[in-house]
Symmetry: C2
Subunit: 257 residues, 2 copies
């Protein structure tokens, strides 16, 4: 047991992703670090959990005092397994999710396993999801690590509001061009999907889900605005999906006969 | 082509679930119906999509003019495949998701494949997720079908606000005790998880994810309040996860040096 903060690191790109090591390099500066990562790529798993198969979680290495575990579970399962099994209920001070290879700005946040894990953690601890706007396995994490450390330091000192986590996205520009950090709201938009049709060697049709993000909102204050203007976007995120603005609009349903 | 509304029915309990047939019985009264369901149980998949394996979607029967398709995809994939592949881009008028065996009230909404599909659909059409407070494969859908028809009729007539879908939950009480329908907000709470540890025949430890919902909020107007007071809960849901109430609280991060 140490007096340093206890930091749980998880991701959705899997235990071999370079972004995971980049996140560990941030976490190690501030506390005792335990890693629980998926044993394969589990991107775009949203808030999925595993109920139909049993979960395994295996310690596979310890390096510089950092324990590394991997699991067949989803990113959200990594948080649950980390808290309940690996750490046996010890109170975690901070959960760090990522660093994700690829942006989780705009509506990507709802598909994101990285953010699913951060949201799960926010039920009882501070949590930050950190992503870079670059899907490459060899994405450059220099800026994400630099600003990530600033954010982690500040959050450990000042905390986050209850049940609120951060969705941090770093633009793909040279480090020295980054102007700073902006608190943002989610950009309005959607994923335009194509289903790319192919035929397998046995004559059966199948589809690859592909697509691109369409932003319908370019206003100042949105996460995409920040990224396009060379800022790091910090979106505070919560798990209340209620459309409060629409409650009166659907009130007519109470009177339906 | 018909002039009746085009209704896409999806679920997360899979193509063999009784709840799916109950939903089809609602949809058939109002329009042309196409079903796209997972080929296995895909509960608790949240907003997961499938990017790492190819998707198949297969027509397996047509009954009374209703086309039934099944897929290896998630509930959200069912919506995308329905729109893009099965219906080849025809504009859907309404997506119905469920009827789910089990409640999607309180924070269950963020784990729910049923609601993941409804939220996905809400990007460009009206959508309703319908669930009963009973996980049994033989759950009683009488009340859900009765009130579901009222809701579908009203929504087809009056519409929903853009990008807002409905999370409808039906209490597990005798039909005649239901007092009506209430527009609600998401109940504050969390899932308390246990990881039930077992040892396989080869001596390896594994875990089953189990747990129960803990509501920390019993105030009037919440979805759990409505269910406990014998009302059907109708929560308007959107996909903007921004914690607007917390934006000022985290503004300090913009000034971190």
């Amino acid at each position: 047991m140490e007096n340093r903060p206890l930091i749980l690191v998880v991701n959705d790109d899997g235990y071999e992703a370079r972004g995971l090591e980049a996140m560990v390099s941030i976490a190690k500066e501030f506390g005792e670090v335990v890693v629980v990562a998926p044993d394969q790529v589990r991107s775009a798993m949203g808030h999925a959990i595993t109920m139909n198969v049993p979960l395994h979680v295996t310690h596979y290495k310890t390096v510089d005092g950092v324990q590394y575990w991997r699991t067949n579970g989803t990113p959200v399962d990594c948080v649950k397994l980390g808290q309940k099994v690996v750490l046996r209920g010890r109170q975690v001070d901070l959960v760090l999710s990522g660093i994700n290879h690829g942006s989780n700005s705009s509506v990507s946040v709802i598909y994101s396993g990285t953010m699913g894990a951060a949201i799960e953690a926010s039920f009882d601890t501070a949590a930050i999801g950190l992503s870079v706007q670059d899907y490459s396995p060899n994405a450059d994490f220099t800026a994400a690590v630099h600003y990530g450390k600033k954010i982690v330091k500040a959050v450990l000192e000042k905390g986050l509001p209850p049940h609120v986590c951060l969705n941090v996205n770093v633009p793909k520009i040279p480090f020295e061009e980054i102007k700073g950090m902006k608190i943002t709201r989610q950009t309005e938009g959607y994923w335009y999907e194509d289903m790319e049709k192919r035929v397998d060697p046995y004559g059966r049709e199948y589809y690859w889900l592909t697509g691109h993000l369409v932003d319908t909102d370019h206003a100042e204050g949105s996460c995409e605005w920040a990224l396009h203007h060379n800022y790091i976007s910090i979106q505070p995120v919560h798990y209340d999906l209620t459309a409060y603005h629409a409650m009166n609009d659907v009130k007519y349903l109470e009177d339906v006969q």
